[in-house]
């Protein structure tokens, strides 16, 4: 009765309810992997991938209009380029110490959250802004491709 209703986009009610609970947990898990990139395995790419997966799950369950209301398409490409530029600027600021790409913030005691110099900042810039939006952008473009196949 509700599965083939043409007014409802996305998937069925069971999927929507489970997604409402779990998408926040997936996003939080991804952010945890990114922030602890210098202590435990993971880091920029793996964490960014998981954050992108949470966006994709939201889009699959609720339809593309919902996600486009929250993150419009122009913002995706702008933020993605901005993430790459921030990463390059952080690497360039290593020139102040002497060498390109060196680690120029003070490295605190090991295994603390705020140690290891520029590595956490690079992880955050890479994962939150570039990798997640890049992968989500690829998925969005492949879904939004309106095409008329030539018969």
């Amino acid at each position: 009765m509700t599965m083939n209703d043409s007014k409802e986009k996305g998937m069925s009610l069971v999927v929507k309810t489970v997604t409402r609970i779990s998408v926040g947990i997936i996003l939080l898990y991804g952010i945890y992997i990114v922030l602890h990139g210098h202590i435990s395995p993971g880091g920029g790419f793996a964490g960014g991938f998981i954050i992108a997966l949470s966006y994709i799950l939201f889009m699959l369950a609720f339809g593309k209009e919902e996600i486009l209301k929250r993150i419009p398409q122009s913002m995706i490409s702008a933020l993605e380029s901005l993430g790459a530029i921030i990463f390059l600027v952080i690497a360039l600021l290593g020139f102040t110490v002497g060498y390109f790409f060196s680690n120029w913030l003070p490295k605190g005691t090991i295994f603390q959250l705020l140690s290891a110099g520029t590595i956490p900042i690079s992880n955050i810039a890479l994962a939150l802004l570039e990798v997640s939006l890049g992968l989500f952008g690829i998925f969005l473009v492949l879904v939004l491709l309106k095409f008329n196949p030539k018969e």
Binding site: S40, P41, F45, I110, F111, I138, V141, L142, L145, F147, N148, P149, K150, E151
Partner: protein
Amino acid sequence: MSTYFLCLILFSIGLYAIVRKRNIIKIIIGMVICSYAVNLFLVLFGYKMNGRSPLYSPNQQIADMVDPLPQAMALTSIVIGLATIALVVGIAMRIYEKYGTFDITKIKNLKG
């Protein structure tokens, strides 16, 4: 020794799929299998007998870890493979739009 052979067999399965299959999507799957095989091969080369995983944690000593450098190389290679496969899937979808088929024996506008 036999694990290296299994990796090369996986690579040749992927290569067979690229060379002999007629559907574009099967060719793309062949590319993915090939890159999995090469990444596995890279990680296998760093193995040391009775080594443990190369994580630096506060309560274990540093002795006999497996080599971590091939693991970093495999991570980079996975990301490069992701970008390549995303691009080839996009091109394959556009080919379906222009030609109407996924069969490579019918996509033959360029000859000579």
